[in-house]
Amino acid sequence: MAQSQTLTRLVAKTKANNIRWHRYEGYLFVAPLIVGIIAFIFLPIAASLYMSFNKWDMVSPPELVGLKNYARLVSRDRLFWKVLGNTFRYAGWIIVPSVIFPLILAALLDRPIRLRYLYRLAFFLPLVTSVVAVGLMFRWLYDGEFGLVNFVLSWVRIDGPNWLVDPFWAMPAVAMVTVWQGLGYNMVLYLAGLQGIPDHLHEAATIDGAGPFSRFFRITIPLLTPTMFFILVMSVIGTFQTFGLIYVMTQGGPINSTNVYIYYLWQMAFGSSKMGYASAMAWILALVIFTITMIQVRLARLWVHY
Protein backbone atom coordinates (compact mmCIF):
# COMPACT_ATOMS: atom_id res chain seq x y z
CA MET A 1 0.00 0.00 0.00
CA ALA A 2 2.56 2.52 1.14
CA GLN A 3 4.85 1.34 -1.53
CA SER A 4 2.26 1.83 -4.23
CA GLN A 5 1.51 5.31 -2.87
CA THR A 6 5.16 6.25 -3.12
CA LEU A 7 5.16 4.91 -6.61
CA THR A 8 2.11 6.97 -7.55
CA ARG A 9 3.73 10.06 -6.10
CA LEU A 10 6.92 9.33 -7.97
CA VAL A 11 5.06 8.92 -11.24
CA ALA A 12 3.13 12.13 -10.65
CA LYS A 13 6.33 13.97 -9.86
CA THR A 14 8.13 12.79 -12.96
CA LYS A 15 5.05 13.60 -14.98
CA ALA A 16 4.90 17.11 -13.57
CA ASN A 17 8.57 17.57 -14.29
CA ASN A 18 8.04 16.24 -17.72
CA ILE A 19 5.11 18.49 -18.33
CA ARG A 20 6.96 21.53 -17.15
CA TRP A 21 9.79 20.66 -19.48
CA HIS A 22 7.47 19.49 -22.26
CA ARG A 23 5.64 22.79 -22.27
CA TYR A 24 8.69 24.51 -23.69
CA GLU A 25 10.13 21.65 -25.67
CA GLY A 26 8.36 22.84 -28.83
CA TYR A 27 10.53 25.94 -28.87
CA LEU A 28 13.59 23.81 -29.49
CA PHE A 29 11.97 22.33 -32.56
CA VAL A 30 10.92 25.64 -34.06
CA ALA A 31 14.05 27.51 -32.98
CA PRO A 32 16.09 27.12 -36.20
CA LEU A 33 13.17 28.26 -38.35
CA ILE A 34 12.25 31.16 -36.10
CA VAL A 35 15.86 32.35 -35.88
CA GLY A 36 16.10 32.17 -39.67
CA ILE A 37 12.84 34.03 -40.20
CA ILE A 38 13.82 36.76 -37.75
CA ALA A 39 17.28 37.15 -39.22
CA PHE A 40 16.44 36.91 -42.91
CA ILE A 41 12.91 38.28 -43.08
CA PHE A 42 11.86 40.36 -40.09
CA LEU A 43 15.07 42.26 -39.48
CA PRO A 44 15.40 43.06 -43.21
CA ILE A 45 11.80 44.27 -43.24
CA ALA A 46 12.50 46.61 -40.34
CA ALA A 47 15.77 47.73 -41.91
CA SER A 48 14.02 48.31 -45.21
CA LEU A 49 11.39 50.51 -43.59
CA TYR A 50 14.07 52.56 -41.86
CA MET A 51 16.11 52.82 -45.05
CA SER A 52 13.14 54.09 -46.99
CA PHE A 53 13.35 57.27 -44.88
CA ASN A 54 17.01 57.71 -45.76
CA LYS A 55 19.05 58.84 -48.66
CA TRP A 56 21.84 56.37 -49.11
CA ASP A 57 24.23 55.41 -51.89
CA MET A 58 26.19 52.82 -49.83
CA VAL A 59 29.34 54.95 -50.05
CA SER A 60 28.66 58.01 -47.93
CA PRO A 61 26.78 57.55 -44.62
CA PRO A 62 22.96 57.42 -44.83
CA GLU A 63 21.14 60.71 -44.37
CA LEU A 64 17.71 60.85 -42.79
CA VAL A 65 15.31 62.62 -45.16
CA GLY A 66 11.92 61.68 -43.73
CA LEU A 67 9.24 61.05 -46.34
CA LYS A 68 11.19 62.69 -49.17
CA ASN A 69 11.79 59.45 -51.06
CA TYR A 70 8.09 58.69 -51.11
CA ALA A 71 7.17 62.23 -52.05
CA ARG A 72 9.65 62.24 -54.89
CA LEU A 73 8.48 58.91 -56.23
CA VAL A 74 4.87 59.94 -56.28
CA SER A 75 5.21 63.53 -57.45
CA ARG A 76 8.38 63.82 -59.51
CA ASP A 77 9.36 60.45 -60.88
CA ARG A 78 7.55 60.16 -64.18
CA LEU A 79 9.20 56.85 -64.98
CA PHE A 80 7.83 55.45 -61.72
CA TRP A 81 4.27 56.10 -62.87
CA LYS A 82 5.01 54.68 -66.29
CA VAL A 83 6.45 51.56 -64.72
CA LEU A 84 3.46 51.20 -62.43
CA GLY A 85 1.17 51.59 -65.44
CA ASN A 86 3.23 49.02 -67.37
CA THR A 87 2.90 46.55 -64.54
CA PHE A 88 -0.88 46.91 -64.56
CA ARG A 89 -0.90 46.61 -68.35
CA TYR A 90 1.16 43.46 -68.01
CA ALA A 91 -1.36 42.06 -65.51
CA GLY A 92 -4.19 43.11 -67.82
CA TRP A 93 -2.77 41.07 -70.69
CA ILE A 94 -2.25 38.06 -68.49
CA ILE A 95 -5.46 37.77 -66.49
CA VAL A 96 -8.00 36.66 -69.09
CA PRO A 97 -5.91 34.02 -70.87
CA SER A 98 -4.55 32.64 -67.58
CA VAL A 99 -8.05 32.14 -66.28
CA ILE A 100 -9.51 30.70 -69.51
CA PHE A 101 -6.87 28.50 -71.17
CA PRO A 102 -6.04 26.38 -68.11
CA LEU A 103 -9.78 25.95 -67.51
CA ILE A 104 -10.21 24.52 -70.99
CA LEU A 105 -7.27 22.18 -70.45
CA ALA A 106 -8.57 21.05 -67.08
CA ALA A 107 -12.08 20.46 -68.45
CA LEU A 108 -10.58 18.30 -71.22
CA LEU A 109 -8.31 16.41 -68.85
CA ASP A 110 -10.86 15.84 -66.13
CA ARG A 111 -12.43 13.02 -68.15
CA PRO A 112 -10.91 9.55 -67.82
CA ILE A 113 -9.31 9.44 -71.24
CA ARG A 114 -6.27 7.52 -72.34
CA LEU A 115 -2.81 9.11 -72.21
CA ARG A 116 -4.10 11.67 -69.74
CA TYR A 117 -0.82 11.51 -67.90
CA LEU A 118 1.16 12.26 -71.03
CA TYR A 119 -0.94 15.30 -71.90
CA ARG A 120 -0.67 16.64 -68.40
CA LEU A 121 3.08 16.28 -68.65
CA ALA A 122 3.18 18.43 -71.80
CA PHE A 123 1.56 21.36 -70.02
CA PHE A 124 3.88 21.01 -67.06
CA LEU A 125 7.15 21.32 -68.90
CA PRO A 126 6.95 25.13 -69.26
CA LEU A 127 6.48 25.42 -65.52
CA VAL A 128 9.68 23.62 -64.59
CA THR A 129 11.82 25.48 -67.12
CA SER A 130 13.81 28.43 -65.78
CA VAL A 131 13.01 31.99 -66.78
CA VAL A 132 16.43 32.28 -68.39
CA ALA A 133 15.80 29.34 -70.71
CA VAL A 134 12.21 30.41 -71.38
CA GLY A 135 13.24 34.00 -72.00
CA LEU A 136 15.94 33.02 -74.49
CA MET A 137 13.64 30.54 -76.20
CA PHE A 138 10.98 33.18 -76.76
CA ARG A 139 13.42 35.88 -77.78
CA TRP A 140 14.28 33.56 -80.62
CA LEU A 141 10.67 32.58 -81.33
CA TYR A 142 9.64 36.24 -81.48
CA ASP A 143 12.50 37.23 -83.79
CA GLY A 144 11.02 39.53 -86.45
CA GLU A 145 12.71 37.93 -89.42
CA PHE A 146 13.72 34.39 -88.51
CA GLY A 147 11.37 33.61 -85.60
CA LEU A 148 8.93 30.75 -85.61
CA VAL A 149 5.98 32.90 -84.53
CA ASN A 150 6.08 35.09 -87.61
CA PHE A 151 6.78 32.08 -89.78
CA VAL A 152 3.60 30.38 -88.55
CA LEU A 153 1.67 33.64 -88.93
CA SER A 154 2.85 33.87 -92.53
CA TRP A 155 0.89 30.67 -93.24
CA VAL A 156 -2.28 32.67 -92.73
CA ARG A 157 -0.78 35.66 -94.55
CA ILE A 158 -0.24 37.78 -91.45
CA ASP A 159 2.89 39.88 -91.56
CA GLY A 160 3.86 39.76 -87.86
CA PRO A 161 5.65 42.69 -86.20
CA ASN A 162 9.13 42.50 -84.78
CA TRP A 163 7.55 41.64 -81.45
CA LEU A 164 10.14 42.54 -78.85
CA VAL A 165 11.37 45.65 -80.65
CA ASP A 166 7.94 47.17 -81.16
CA PRO A 167 6.95 49.42 -78.22
CA PHE A 168 3.33 48.33 -78.48
CA TRP A 169 3.75 44.60 -79.05
CA ALA A 170 6.64 43.96 -76.65
CA MET A 171 4.43 43.91 -73.56
CA PRO A 172 1.73 41.54 -74.84
CA ALA A 173 4.48 39.31 -76.25
CA VAL A 174 6.16 39.04 -72.85
CA ALA A 175 2.78 38.58 -71.16
CA MET A 176 1.94 35.60 -73.38
CA VAL A 177 5.16 33.94 -72.27
CA THR A 178 3.99 34.28 -68.67
CA VAL A 179 0.62 32.80 -69.60
CA TRP A 180 2.33 29.89 -71.32
CA GLN A 181 4.51 29.24 -68.29
CA GLY A 182 1.56 29.26 -65.92
CA LEU A 183 -0.64 26.89 -67.95
CA GLY A 184 0.25 23.70 -66.09
CA TYR A 185 0.14 25.24 -62.65
CA ASN A 186 -3.28 26.83 -63.10
CA MET A 187 -4.53 23.67 -64.77
CA VAL A 188 -3.69 21.61 -61.67
CA LEU A 189 -5.51 24.13 -59.50
CA TYR A 190 -8.57 23.75 -61.71
CA LEU A 191 -8.30 19.95 -61.72
CA ALA A 192 -8.28 20.00 -57.92
CA GLY A 193 -11.31 22.29 -58.02
CA LEU A 194 -13.12 20.01 -60.48
CA GLN A 195 -12.55 17.02 -58.24
CA GLY A 196 -14.23 18.90 -55.43
CA ILE A 197 -17.49 19.21 -57.37
CA PRO A 198 -19.81 16.43 -56.22
CA ASP A 199 -21.10 14.16 -59.01
CA HIS A 200 -24.67 14.23 -57.79
CA LEU A 201 -25.06 17.86 -58.88
CA HIS A 202 -24.30 16.92 -62.47
CA GLU A 203 -26.50 13.84 -62.25
CA ALA A 204 -29.42 15.82 -60.88
CA ALA A 205 -29.04 18.41 -63.63
CA THR A 206 -28.88 15.70 -66.28
CA ILE A 207 -32.11 14.18 -65.00
CA ASP A 208 -33.67 17.63 -65.21
CA GLY A 209 -32.66 17.68 -68.85
CA ALA A 210 -29.59 19.95 -68.78
CA GLY A 211 -27.14 19.39 -71.63
CA PRO A 212 -23.36 19.28 -71.20
CA PHE A 213 -22.93 22.96 -72.06
CA SER A 214 -25.51 24.32 -69.68
CA ARG A 215 -24.13 22.00 -66.99
CA PHE A 216 -20.66 23.39 -67.61
CA PHE A 217 -21.76 27.03 -67.44
CA ARG A 218 -24.33 26.68 -64.64
CA ILE A 219 -22.68 24.14 -62.36
CA THR A 220 -18.98 23.75 -63.12
CA ILE A 221 -18.08 27.39 -63.62
CA PRO A 222 -19.91 28.80 -60.59
CA LEU A 223 -18.35 26.13 -58.41
CA LEU A 224 -14.91 26.89 -59.81
CA THR A 225 -15.10 30.60 -59.00
CA PRO A 226 -12.97 30.21 -55.84
CA THR A 227 -10.22 28.66 -57.98
CA MET A 228 -10.56 31.43 -60.55
CA PHE A 229 -10.30 33.96 -57.79
CA PHE A 230 -7.13 32.37 -56.47
CA ILE A 231 -5.60 32.31 -59.95
CA LEU A 232 -6.52 35.94 -60.46
CA VAL A 233 -4.90 37.08 -57.22
CA MET A 234 -1.76 35.00 -57.77
CA SER A 235 -1.37 36.20 -61.38
CA VAL A 236 -1.61 39.86 -60.44
CA ILE A 237 0.82 39.45 -57.54
CA GLY A 238 3.14 37.54 -59.87
CA THR A 239 3.34 40.40 -62.34
CA PHE A 240 4.54 42.69 -59.56
CA GLN A 241 7.43 40.34 -58.86
CA THR A 242 8.65 39.59 -62.38
CA PHE A 243 12.29 40.26 -62.97
CA GLY A 244 14.19 37.49 -64.76
CA LEU A 245 11.96 37.25 -67.79
CA ILE A 246 12.18 41.00 -68.44
CA TYR A 247 15.93 41.03 -67.87
CA VAL A 248 16.52 38.23 -70.36
CA MET A 249 13.96 39.23 -72.98
CA THR A 250 13.82 43.01 -73.23
CA GLN A 251 15.88 44.69 -70.46
CA GLY A 252 12.81 46.86 -69.92
CA GLY A 253 12.89 48.18 -73.49
CA PRO A 254 12.03 49.30 -76.09
CA ILE A 255 11.83 52.82 -74.63
CA ASN A 256 10.81 51.46 -71.22
CA SER A 257 7.66 49.87 -72.60
CA THR A 258 8.31 46.63 -70.69
CA ASN A 259 10.00 48.19 -67.69
CA VAL A 260 8.01 46.73 -64.80
CA TYR A 261 8.10 47.29 -61.08
CA ILE A 262 10.86 45.03 -59.80
CA TYR A 263 12.98 45.71 -62.83
CA TYR A 264 12.88 49.45 -62.16
CA LEU A 265 13.47 48.83 -58.46
CA TRP A 266 16.56 46.83 -59.33
CA GLN A 267 17.78 49.59 -61.66
CA MET A 268 17.41 52.11 -58.83
CA ALA A 269 19.00 49.94 -56.13
CA PHE A 270 21.80 48.20 -57.98
CA GLY A 271 22.22 50.34 -61.08
CA SER A 272 22.03 53.81 -59.53
CA SER A 273 22.85 52.81 -55.90
CA LYS A 274 19.81 54.64 -54.56
CA MET A 275 19.18 52.26 -51.71
CA GLY A 276 16.76 54.45 -49.76
CA TYR A 277 14.79 55.35 -52.84
CA ALA A 278 14.52 51.69 -53.88
CA SER A 279 13.44 50.72 -50.36
CA ALA A 280 10.65 53.26 -50.56
CA MET A 281 9.66 51.65 -53.85
CA ALA A 282 9.63 48.25 -52.17
CA TRP A 283 7.28 49.53 -49.49
CA ILE A 284 4.95 51.09 -52.02
CA LEU A 285 4.98 47.72 -53.77
CA ALA A 286 4.01 45.94 -50.56
CA LEU A 287 1.21 48.45 -50.11
CA VAL A 288 0.01 48.05 -53.70
CA ILE A 289 -0.04 44.26 -53.44
CA PHE A 290 -1.91 44.45 -50.17
CA THR A 291 -4.47 46.89 -51.60
CA ILE A 292 -5.02 44.86 -54.76
CA THR A 293 -5.54 41.72 -52.73
CA MET A 294 -8.03 43.50 -50.47
CA ILE A 295 -9.94 44.95 -53.44
CA GLN A 296 -10.07 41.54 -55.04
CA VAL A 297 -11.29 39.95 -51.82
CA ARG A 298 -14.04 42.58 -51.64
CA LEU A 299 -15.05 42.12 -55.27
CA ALA A 300 -14.91 38.38 -54.83
CA ARG A 301 -18.03 38.52 -52.68
CA LEU A 302 -19.95 39.58 -55.75
CA TRP A 303 -18.96 36.69 -57.96
CA VAL A 304 -17.30 33.91 -56.01
CA HIS A 305 -19.58 31.14 -54.75
CA TYR A 306 -18.11 29.32 -51.78
Binding site: I104, L105, F124, M281, A282
Partner: protein
Protein backbone atom coordinates in the same frame (compact mmCIF):
# COMPACT_ATOMS: atom_id res chain seq x y z
CA UNK B 1 -38.32 -2.70 -76.19
CA UNK B 2 -35.11 -4.60 -76.03
CA UNK B 3 -33.95 -3.42 -79.41
CA UNK B 4 -34.58 0.16 -78.36
CA UNK B 5 -32.42 -0.25 -75.29
CA UNK B 6 -29.62 -1.80 -77.30
CA UNK B 7 -29.91 1.10 -79.70
CA UNK B 8 -29.71 3.58 -76.87
CA UNK B 9 -26.65 1.91 -75.41
CA UNK B 10 -25.03 1.82 -78.82
CA UNK B 11 -25.74 5.47 -79.50
CA UNK B 12 -24.43 6.36 -76.07
CA UNK B 13 -21.21 4.50 -76.84
CA UNK B 14 -20.99 6.28 -80.13
CA UNK B 15 -21.46 9.63 -78.43
CA UNK B 16 -18.72 8.82 -75.99
CA UNK B 17 -16.42 7.80 -78.80
CA UNK B 18 -17.04 11.07 -80.61
CA UNK B 19 -16.51 13.06 -77.43
CA UNK B 20 -13.29 11.21 -76.69
CA UNK B 21 -11.99 11.72 -80.20
CA UNK B 22 -12.70 15.43 -80.08
CA UNK B 23 -11.02 15.67 -76.68
CA UNK B 24 -7.95 13.88 -78.00
CA UNK B 25 -7.73 16.09 -81.08
CA UNK B 26 -8.03 19.25 -79.00
CA UNK B 27 -5.47 18.04 -76.49
CA UNK B 28 -3.02 17.03 -79.19
CA UNK B 29 -3.30 20.41 -80.90
CA UNK B 30 -2.97 22.34 -77.63
CA UNK B 31 -0.20 20.06 -76.39
CA UNK B 32 1.81 20.49 -79.57
CA UNK B 33 1.33 24.24 -79.39
CA UNK B 34 2.57 24.22 -75.79
CA UNK B 35 5.57 22.08 -76.69
CA UNK B 36 6.51 23.78 -79.96
CA UNK B 37 8.84 26.28 -78.23
CA UNK B 38 10.80 23.36 -76.78
CA UNK B 39 11.05 21.70 -80.16
CA UNK B 40 12.32 24.94 -81.63
CA UNK B 41 14.90 25.28 -78.85
CA UNK B 42 16.21 21.73 -79.23
CA UNK B 43 16.23 21.76 -83.00
CA UNK B 44 18.03 25.12 -83.16
CA UNK B 45 20.66 23.94 -80.69
CA UNK B 46 21.75 21.26 -83.19
CA UNK B 47 21.90 23.64 -86.14
CA UNK B 48 24.86 25.52 -87.53
CA UNK B 49 24.86 29.29 -87.20
CA UNK B 50 24.23 29.46 -90.90
CA UNK B 51 21.23 27.17 -90.87
CA UNK B 52 19.63 29.01 -87.96
CA UNK B 53 19.22 32.03 -90.19
CA UNK B 54 17.81 30.14 -93.11
CA UNK B 55 14.44 31.05 -94.62
CA UNK B 56 12.05 29.31 -94.55
CA UNK B 57 13.17 27.89 -91.19
CA UNK B 58 13.87 24.17 -91.01
CA UNK B 59 11.95 22.09 -88.46
CA UNK B 60 14.70 19.49 -88.29
CA UNK B 61 18.36 20.45 -88.55
CA UNK B 62 19.57 19.52 -92.04
CA UNK B 63 23.06 18.74 -90.83
CA UNK B 64 22.77 18.11 -87.09
CA UNK B 65 25.89 19.21 -85.30
CA UNK B 66 27.14 19.48 -81.71
CA UNK B 67 29.13 22.58 -82.61
CA UNK B 68 26.96 24.89 -80.48
CA UNK B 69 27.39 22.70 -77.40
CA UNK B 70 31.12 22.51 -77.98
CA UNK B 71 31.37 26.29 -78.29
CA UNK B 72 29.29 26.74 -75.17
CA UNK B 73 31.50 24.55 -73.00
CA UNK B 74 34.77 25.80 -74.48
CA UNK B 75 33.73 29.41 -74.10
CA UNK B 76 32.55 29.36 -70.49
CA UNK B 77 33.37 27.09 -67.52
CA UNK B 78 29.98 25.36 -67.46
CA UNK B 79 31.36 22.51 -65.38
CA UNK B 80 31.99 24.98 -62.56
CA UNK B 81 28.58 26.61 -63.04
CA UNK B 82 26.99 23.17 -62.68
CA UNK B 83 28.94 22.41 -59.55
CA UNK B 84 27.87 25.75 -58.04
CA UNK B 85 24.21 25.22 -58.87
CA UNK B 86 24.20 21.69 -57.46
CA UNK B 87 26.03 22.75 -54.32
CA UNK B 88 23.63 25.63 -53.62
CA UNK B 89 20.56 23.49 -54.32
CA UNK B 90 21.64 20.46 -52.31
CA UNK B 91 22.74 22.37 -49.22
CA UNK B 92 19.77 24.72 -49.30
CA UNK B 93 17.21 21.98 -49.84
CA UNK B 94 18.79 19.62 -47.31
CA UNK B 95 18.82 22.26 -44.61
CA UNK B 96 15.32 23.34 -45.44
CA UNK B 97 13.99 19.78 -45.13
CA UNK B 98 15.49 19.51 -41.65
CA UNK B 99 14.41 22.88 -40.25
CA UNK B 100 10.93 22.79 -41.73
CA UNK B 101 10.21 19.22 -40.71
CA UNK B 102 11.32 19.98 -37.15
CA UNK B 103 9.10 23.06 -37.02
CA UNK B 104 6.20 21.33 -38.76
CA UNK B 105 6.33 18.50 -36.25
CA UNK B 106 6.22 20.94 -33.35
CA UNK B 107 3.40 22.98 -34.87
CA UNK B 108 1.34 19.89 -35.61
CA UNK B 109 2.01 17.71 -32.58
CA UNK B 110 3.52 19.55 -29.64
CA UNK B 111 1.89 22.09 -27.41
CA UNK B 112 3.69 25.18 -26.27
CA UNK B 113 2.71 28.68 -25.23
CA UNK B 114 2.18 31.02 -28.16
CA UNK B 115 2.20 28.22 -30.73
CA UNK B 116 -0.63 29.56 -32.85
CA UNK B 117 0.62 33.12 -32.86
CA UNK B 118 4.05 31.89 -33.84
CA UNK B 119 2.62 29.83 -36.67
CA UNK B 120 0.64 32.77 -38.02
CA UNK B 121 3.77 34.89 -37.91
CA UNK B 122 5.63 32.22 -39.88
CA UNK B 123 2.83 32.03 -42.44
CA UNK B 124 2.61 35.79 -42.82
CA UNK B 125 6.18 35.87 -44.11
CA UNK B 126 4.97 34.14 -47.27
CA UNK B 127 3.16 37.34 -48.21
CA UNK B 128 6.21 39.57 -47.95
CA UNK B 129 7.50 40.43 -51.43
CA UNK B 130 11.12 39.44 -51.92
CA UNK B 131 11.80 42.98 -53.10
CA UNK B 132 11.16 44.32 -49.62
CA UNK B 133 13.82 42.13 -48.02
CA UNK B 134 16.39 41.85 -50.77
CA UNK B 135 17.90 45.33 -50.46
CA UNK B 136 18.61 45.22 -46.71
CA UNK B 137 19.71 41.59 -47.08
CA UNK B 138 22.16 42.68 -49.73
CA UNK B 139 23.49 45.44 -47.50
CA UNK B 140 23.88 43.13 -44.50
CA UNK B 141 25.52 40.44 -46.62
CA UNK B 142 27.81 43.11 -48.00
CA UNK B 143 28.78 44.20 -44.46
CA UNK B 144 29.55 40.70 -43.23
CA UNK B 145 31.45 39.84 -46.38
CA UNK B 146 28.99 37.32 -47.76
CA UNK B 147 28.47 39.02 -51.13
CA UNK B 148 30.31 36.99 -53.73
CA UNK B 149 30.05 33.83 -51.70
CA UNK B 150 27.30 31.23 -51.97
CA UNK B 151 26.21 31.79 -48.36
CA UNK B 152 23.42 34.34 -49.04
CA UNK B 153 21.85 31.79 -51.37
CA UNK B 154 22.23 28.83 -49.02
CA UNK B 155 21.78 30.01 -45.43
CA UNK B 156 18.45 31.89 -45.75
CA UNK B 157 17.06 29.03 -47.84
CA UNK B 158 18.07 26.55 -45.15
CA UNK B 159 16.55 28.44 -42.28
CA UNK B 160 13.53 30.41 -43.37
CA UNK B 161 11.15 28.26 -45.40
CA UNK B 162 7.64 29.16 -44.28
CA UNK B 163 6.31 27.38 -47.35
CA UNK B 164 8.02 24.11 -46.41
CA UNK B 165 6.82 24.33 -42.83
CA UNK B 166 3.27 24.94 -43.99
CA UNK B 167 3.31 22.06 -46.47
CA UNK B 168 4.75 19.55 -43.99
CA UNK B 169 2.43 20.66 -41.21
CA UNK B 170 -0.58 20.15 -43.48
CA UNK B 171 0.70 16.70 -44.26
CA UNK B 172 1.34 15.82 -40.61
CA UNK B 173 -2.32 16.45 -39.86
CA UNK B 174 -3.24 13.68 -42.28
CA UNK B 175 -1.12 11.15 -40.36
CA UNK B 176 -2.53 9.06 -37.49
CA UNK B 177 -1.49 10.16 -33.99
CA UNK B 178 -1.89 6.70 -32.42
CA UNK B 179 1.61 5.51 -33.29
CA UNK B 180 3.14 8.57 -31.67
CA UNK B 181 0.96 8.22 -28.58
CA UNK B 182 2.00 4.61 -28.23
CA UNK B 183 5.65 5.59 -28.52
CA UNK B 184 5.22 8.32 -25.93
CA UNK B 185 3.62 5.88 -23.49
CA UNK B 186 6.57 3.60 -24.01
CA UNK B 187 8.78 6.47 -22.91
CA UNK B 188 10.01 7.80 -26.21
CA UNK B 189 11.14 11.45 -26.13
CA UNK B 190 9.64 14.04 -28.47
CA UNK B 191 12.79 14.11 -30.52
CA UNK B 192 12.71 10.32 -30.71
CA UNK B 193 9.14 10.44 -31.96
CA UNK B 194 10.09 13.01 -34.56
CA UNK B 195 13.15 11.08 -35.63
CA UNK B 196 11.75 7.53 -35.59
CA UNK B 197 8.07 7.92 -36.37
CA UNK B 198 7.13 11.28 -37.85
CA UNK B 199 10.10 11.65 -40.17
CA UNK B 200 9.74 8.22 -41.84
CA UNK B 201 5.99 8.77 -42.27
CA UNK B 202 6.58 12.23 -43.73
CA UNK B 203 8.74 10.83 -46.54
CA UNK B 204 6.27 11.47 -49.39
CA UNK B 205 5.73 15.06 -48.27
CA UNK B 206 9.48 15.54 -47.84
CA UNK B 207 9.92 14.31 -51.40
CA UNK B 208 7.33 16.80 -52.62
CA UNK B 209 9.01 19.64 -50.78
CA UNK B 210 12.42 18.47 -51.95
CA UNK B 211 11.38 18.44 -55.60
CA UNK B 212 9.82 21.89 -55.36
CA UNK B 213 12.71 23.46 -53.54
CA UNK B 214 15.29 21.86 -55.76
CA UNK B 215 13.59 23.27 -58.84
CA UNK B 216 13.10 26.67 -57.25
CA UNK B 217 16.76 26.77 -56.28
CA UNK B 218 18.02 25.50 -59.63
CA UNK B 219 15.85 27.95 -61.57
CA UNK B 220 16.45 30.90 -59.26
CA UNK B 221 17.80 33.83 -61.20
CA UNK B 222 17.23 36.96 -59.13
CA UNK B 223 19.11 35.78 -56.02
CA UNK B 224 22.35 34.69 -57.70
CA UNK B 225 22.10 37.71 -59.99
CA UNK B 226 22.06 40.09 -57.02
CA UNK B 227 24.64 38.39 -54.82
CA UNK B 228 27.23 37.07 -57.27
CA UNK B 229 29.35 38.87 -59.79
CA UNK B 230 32.48 36.75 -59.96
CA UNK B 231 32.28 34.33 -62.82
CA UNK B 232 33.66 31.37 -60.93
CA UNK B 233 30.80 31.59 -58.45
CA UNK B 234 28.07 31.72 -61.10
CA UNK B 235 25.19 29.27 -61.25
CA UNK B 236 24.15 27.75 -64.58
CA UNK B 237 21.36 30.32 -64.95
CA UNK B 238 23.84 33.19 -64.63
CA UNK B 239 26.18 31.32 -66.95
CA UNK B 240 23.59 31.20 -69.71
CA UNK B 241 22.64 34.84 -69.14
CA UNK B 242 26.34 35.61 -69.49
CA UNK B 243 26.47 33.80 -72.82
CA UNK B 244 23.54 35.92 -73.94
CA UNK B 245 25.41 39.10 -73.00
CA UNK B 246 28.38 38.06 -75.11
CA UNK B 247 26.65 36.40 -78.04
CA UNK B 248 23.39 38.24 -78.27
CA UNK B 249 22.13 36.56 -81.43
CA UNK B 250 24.19 33.42 -81.68
CA UNK B 251 21.01 31.36 -81.54
CA UNK B 252 22.35 27.79 -81.72
CA UNK B 253 24.68 28.56 -78.84
CA UNK B 254 21.98 30.29 -76.78
CA UNK B 255 19.55 27.45 -77.40
CA UNK B 256 22.22 24.90 -76.46
CA UNK B 257 22.62 26.84 -73.21
CA UNK B 258 18.88 26.72 -72.61
CA UNK B 259 18.85 22.96 -73.22
CA UNK B 260 21.73 22.49 -70.81
CA UNK B 261 20.06 24.41 -67.95
CA UNK B 262 16.73 22.72 -68.56
CA UNK B 263 17.87 19.09 -68.70
CA UNK B 264 18.62 18.56 -64.98
CA UNK B 265 15.27 19.93 -63.77
CA UNK B 266 13.55 18.00 -66.50
CA UNK B 267 15.10 14.77 -65.27
CA UNK B 268 14.18 15.49 -61.67
CA UNK B 269 10.69 16.38 -62.76
CA UNK B 270 10.14 13.31 -64.93
CA UNK B 271 11.39 11.00 -62.20
CA UNK B 272 9.43 12.61 -59.38
CA UNK B 273 6.47 14.27 -61.07
CA UNK B 274 3.79 12.62 -58.96
CA UNK B 275 5.17 14.43 -55.93
CA UNK B 276 5.14 17.66 -57.86
CA UNK B 277 1.43 17.56 -58.73
CA UNK B 278 0.56 16.68 -55.17
CA UNK B 279 2.50 19.64 -53.86
CA UNK B 280 0.40 22.11 -55.87
CA UNK B 281 -2.91 20.57 -54.87
CA UNK B 282 -1.88 20.14 -51.23
CA UNK B 283 -1.12 23.79 -50.63
CA UNK B 284 -2.26 25.65 -53.71
CA UNK B 285 1.09 27.38 -53.66
CA UNK B 286 4.07 27.11 -55.88
CA UNK B 287 7.46 27.12 -54.10
Amino acid sequence: MRAARVDRVASRRQQELVANTITHILLIVLGLAALAPFWWMISTSFKTEFEAFQLPPTWLPLEPTLEAYGDLFLDQPFGIFFYNSVKIAVLGVGGQLITSSLAAFAFARLDFPGKNVLFIIVLSTMMVPYAVTVIPLYIVMHRIGWVNTHLPLIVPAMLSSAYGTFLLRQFMFSLPVELEDAARIDGCSSFGIYRRIALPLMKPALATLGVFSFMASWNNFFGPFIFLDRKYLFTVQLGVALVQRQWYTSWPRLMAGSVVVTLPVLLVFLLLQRYFVRGISLTGIKG
